[in-house]
């Protein structure tokens, strides 16, 4: 079943923060976050494994709440380059993984 992402869209001023959520009704093994700009390939941001770890690099971080089967992506001090559509992809097992993607969150960062 497709994970639900919220919000569907968000507009930020440069320097503002945003949180994007991804919720699943099924038990997950991992959550994968991607950013896709128009006409380009989805770019891998980070992977969260079950166990509730939090990860981050630069000003983008993410968490995975195993009890709630929910992951959140945190964008702090947003930059113009953060604009794009963010997708979470969920996997229910290790090994060969098919990712089930959410419908995406469109983020626009303006000057």
């Amino acid at each position: 079943q497709q994970p639900v992402q919220s919000p569907q869209a968000v507009i930020l001023r440069e320097g503002e923060d945003a949180v994007i959520n991804c919720s699943s009704s099924k038990a997950l093994y991992s959550v994968h976050w991607y950013r896709q700009k128009h006409g380009e390939a989805p770019v891998f941001l980070m992977i969260l494994l079950k166990g509730g770890e939090q990860k981050g690099h630069d000003k983008i971080s993410a968490s995975f709440n195993e009890k709630k089967q929910q992951s959140s992506l945190y964008l702090t001090a947003s930059q113009l380059s953060y604009s794009g559509t963010y997708f979470c992809g969920t996997a229910m097992n290790t090994g060969f993984q098919k990712l089930v993607f959410g419908t995406g969150t469109r983020l626009l960062v303006s000057p």
Partner: protein, 116 residues
């Protein structure tokens, strides 16, 4: 180090025709997955190949078939094209049997298929 490459970038076909899309995985990767992305939607899993065999399949009809070659490259074939097959077709490569952290899928830029 070349990433995932797909060809062609754009393709226009008519209903009923057949199409073949190609993908070369990232260097060192042995698993290829194919996804269909309709406009404004997230990618939908079609199937996954490892060691030249289809390992997993999504909810797509048999008109969608694939192949993986000994050099790990892959093809996606779609027969009897329908208008609804118009979409961006994405290929992703990964390491098939690694631990969870290694199962990161890297995407190519995709092939935009238009069916008229």
């Amino acid at each position: 180090d070349a990433g995932v490459t797909q060809s062609p970038t754009h393709l226009i076909k008519t209903r009923g025709q057949q199409v073949t899309l190609r993908c070369s995985p990232k260097s060192g990767h042995d698993t290829v997955s194919w996804y269909q992305q309709a406009l404004g939607q997230g990618p939908q899993f079609i199937f996954q190949y490892y060691e030249e065999e289809e390992r997993q399949r999504g909810n797509f009809p048999d008109r969608f078939s694939g192949h993986q070659f000994p050099n790990y490259s892959s093809e996606l074939n779609v027969n009897a094209l329908l208008l609804g097959d118009s979409a961006l077709y994405l290929c992703a490569s990964s390491l098939g049997l690694g631990e969870g952290r290694e199962n990161i899928q890297y995407f190519g830029a995709g092939t935009r298929l238009s069916v008229l």
